[in-house]
Amino acid sequence: MSVLSAKDLPRDGERLKGAALHKRLDKTWRRPPGLWGQLITVDHKDIGRRYIVTAMGFLVLGGILSLIMRTQLATPESGLITPQRYAELFTMHGTTMMFLFAVPVMEAMAVFLVPLMIGTRAMAFPRLNAFSYWIYLAGGCLLWIAFLLNMAPDAGWFSYVPLSGPEFSPGKRTDVWAQMVTFTEVAALAVSVELVATILKQRAPGMTLARMPLFVWVSLITSLMVIFSMPAVTLASSFLLSDRLVGTQFYNPFEHGDALLWQHLFWFFGHPEVYIIFLPGVGFVSHIVETFCRRPVLFYPVMVLAMVSIGLLAFGLWVHHMFATGLPRLGYSFYTAASMTVAIPSGIQIFCWIATMWEGRPRWDTPLLYVAGFIFTFVIGGLTGVMLASVPLDLQLHDTYFVVAHFHYVLIGGAVFPLLGALTYWFPKITGRMMSERLGKWTFWTIFLGFQLGFAPMHWSGILGMPRRVYTYPEGLGWENTNLLSTLGAFVLATGVLLFAMNALLSLRRGATADDNPWGGSGLEWATSSPPASYNFAHIPVVESRTPLWDGRDHLPVMTGLRVDDKELLLTSVIEAKPDIREPSPKPTIWPLIAALATTTMFVCSMFTPWAVVAGAVPTAAALIAWFWPKGPPTPEPVIE
């Protein structure tokens, strides 16, 4: 038996340190400059940034639609827009906000933040990540170009059959909707698979599951939820497309199909989707509370269990969207109980955050203000949610403006407020500059008060009997005042969003330059430069607690030994995060974009003929073959950290 000295090991090449190391790493990880570089990039930071910007763009577009609708509803019997246009507007608004803004923006934040938070240099499957963005962009363009071409869907964002079926929605409007859903499904599933793989296998050594930052936990949970819930809507929209295109009868009650099948399938996805949007907000809030209260959130294990239980419960309450359909009444009791149960983990989380503020030393900067706004708004939305879980109350409140108020309280209060706080909080990490604190506070109060002014009166509109999705309403039913207030609030809220955008744009140019850790946060994302270098970390950090930067030492322990002349990642074990193996990370390539273009062509053409699926498979397969073309044997390894 011979003993190998370190010198004999094949990977023991030149060791780089200091500036030489940074330079070499940057050469290895940096994408080519210019337009070409942007088209081929697989860097999670590039993709995360463009995902965020695109999703925020769709937020603005969806918001503009809501302003048009609110203007129409400001007065009774208004003739501003035609009923057909109004149907398109509420469909576009809901579809854009749910499929093109809310879910993608949360995934986008995860794509940018998760690798930094867990101390790795890239996402798993980075080319799939690039592909996911292009597919998402194509889906969004499909919907909005169709809108400009007067082909916008008009059957509501949940497109109930038979209204969306071939008989009552002739033309291509609903096909555009269903195919847009296909695009966002593919994009969301791709991101979710990447996130699960990244989180489970690429955490820094020592970051056991029990030390994972809470946002990483919610990213893991929501990604798993996407993986389990999206197939239901895939099935639903495929049935719809085939009913419309090839004459199947899945939803036609007169040919032994069933109109309610759609609602079951859609809401089996649709309800988890609400939590897929809300849970990342929980993650944002936890990080902001920790940093600005100068102590970790109380009861970490309880917080994690609360998130997991919300994720599980989300799959057991879809029927509360269907209380008025006349399903057996005894069965409803189960869904009432299940829906109410969600209030327990949510209430526990609220307690933990406020107790952290109580126990900690809160500094009321803009992000923490958004947290306070979130708590106020989300608690109201949660309590109206408890009301809607009750069958006798829901039978009255369902499909009225009360419900519109409820889900905007939950989604804007529960997800958008935390998101705006999170964007303010991580803006220095994303861009390298701080957002203006003064303007930020003005923005917060405008958004917060505008929101309350706009949506609180909707509760009353609903109780006074105003159904949702009506393009106008008669005079004399007592709905005039509340609707006028809602319209005013909508414009104040829009002003706030405009202020936020202005603040972001101005700060991008003139904001104070941010150092690595401007807020004094505890997580690994603050251990690298702002914005992070192309390789994220010069050395992979080693983690010994849940708050690695707050452990009272001057230096973060790191590990070395990854090669720097080629893209390489450290994989660790799933639970304990023990170093496992080194894994090469794919290089930038144009093929994800080409594959996305081929897929887009196939999806769009398949709205017109089913044969497009057959013909379109050829270029898609060709692009995928090029994408996965074997790289050849790895080069020898002369250079390591």
Partner: protein
């Protein structure tokens, strides 16, 4: 309870609004039960909200003076700091669970109350409502079939008598909703659903389709008139009478047009050759409160507007623009006005 809810909704009442289409009315059995349950939920919700906000405000004021200073607490010391909060957290969770259990039980028993069938010895009214894009076809069924009547977009009910309403849809999913009387029930093609309405006082209410059903979803309303049993019987007797023959020459011209031309292919007028089945029954159209499923009140002017150009009045509805000459229009409206 009722008064408490009214107080909570005082802001809404400030508008001096009419409550013909409101959940606060409580003019039917289910509507009254809703008011009770909603008040219970509202009280619990306001208490919970107050508790959370008080806690948040306390946390805000507690450490105001200690903003700067010591470095952040790391993981280890922080965990020791959370021990005193453990009983509080458990108590908080228990309180939420207890509150939810109470609300769930209240909800369950209210639901049982709503699902209770009317007592077998009381008379019940049997009504069938068929939803169409965008109007309601209303049929009353009696043991003696010759008494059956059919109307549209108007539901007359006797106060205190349970009405067993059978619901069907001819096209897409609609939802039947008269908030003053009861909650919603969807009408789903291929299925038969039902709802029991027990109005407990007389009045005129408004119902509206609550599930988006196409372009004129906003104009799919229903007038609900709850009368005393005697007035209801009188109305029923009037409805059972066939349409009277036209009395004036103008009405006669209108009668000829309606029964011989386009109108008759969709509309039915009992006692005349007009027997179309796809549109609303017009036998007593002039006695109704509104035109076009609640689009306009029933006045001569609106009747003219509707007949002259139904697409201008309610764009997208299934009644085509015909292009009547002026004299034809006068005649048709004059005849329709005789259909009391």
């Amino acid at each position: 309870m009722r008064r408490c809810l009214t107080a909570l909704l005082a802001l809404a009442a400030l508008g001096g609004c009419d409550t013909v289409q409101s959940m606060t009315g409580g003019d039917g059995r289910d509507g009254a039960l809703f008011n009770q349950l909603f008040t219970i939920f509202m009280i619990v919700a306001l208490l919970a909200l107050a508790a959370v906000l008080a806690f948040l405000a306390a946390a805000y004021y507690r450490r105001r003076d200690a903003r700067e200073g010591a470095p952040p607490e790391g993981d280890g010391e922080a965990e020791r700091g959370e021990q005193p909060y453990r009983p509080l957290l458990i108590g908080w969770a228990a309180l939420i669970a207890l509150g939810l259990a109470g609300l769930t039980l209240a909800s369950y028993f209210t639901d049982r109350g709503m699902a209770r069938p009317p007592p077998p010895d009381r008379p019940v009214l049997s009504v069938e409502i068929v939803a169409n894009q965008w109007w309601w076809d209303v049929r009353y069924h009696f043991f003696d079939h010759s008494k059956n009547i059919r109307t549209a977009n108007e539901l007359h009910l006797p106060a205190g008598v349970p009405a067993m309403v059978t619901l069907r849809s001819n096209d897409v999913i609609h939802s039947f909703w008269v908030p003053n009387l009861a909650g919603k029930q969807d009408l789903i093609p291929g299925r038969v659903t039902d709802i029991v309405l027990v109005p407990n006082k007389t009045g005129r209410f408004r119902g509206q389709c609550a599930e988006v059903c196409g372009v004129q979803h906003a104009h799919m309303a229903l007038d609900v008139i709850v009368d005393t049993p005697m007035d209801f019987a009188r109305w029923m007797a009037a409805q059972a009478v066939p349409a009277p023959p036209p009395a004036t020459p103008l009405a006669k011209a209108g009668f000829d047009y309606v029964t011989n031309r386009e109108c008759a292919s969709c509309h039915n007028i009992v006692g005349t050759p007009a027997s179309g089945q796809v549109g609303p029954d017009l036998t007593h159209v002039a006695a109704r409160k509104s035109i076009g499923a609640g689009t306009f009140p029933m006045t001569r002017g609106h009747l003219y507007a509707w007949v002259a150009d139904p697409q201008g009045a309610k764009p997208g509805n299934n009644m085509p623009y015909i292009g009547l000459e002026a004299d034809e229009l006068h005649a048709v409206v004059a005849y329709l006005e005789t259909l009391k």
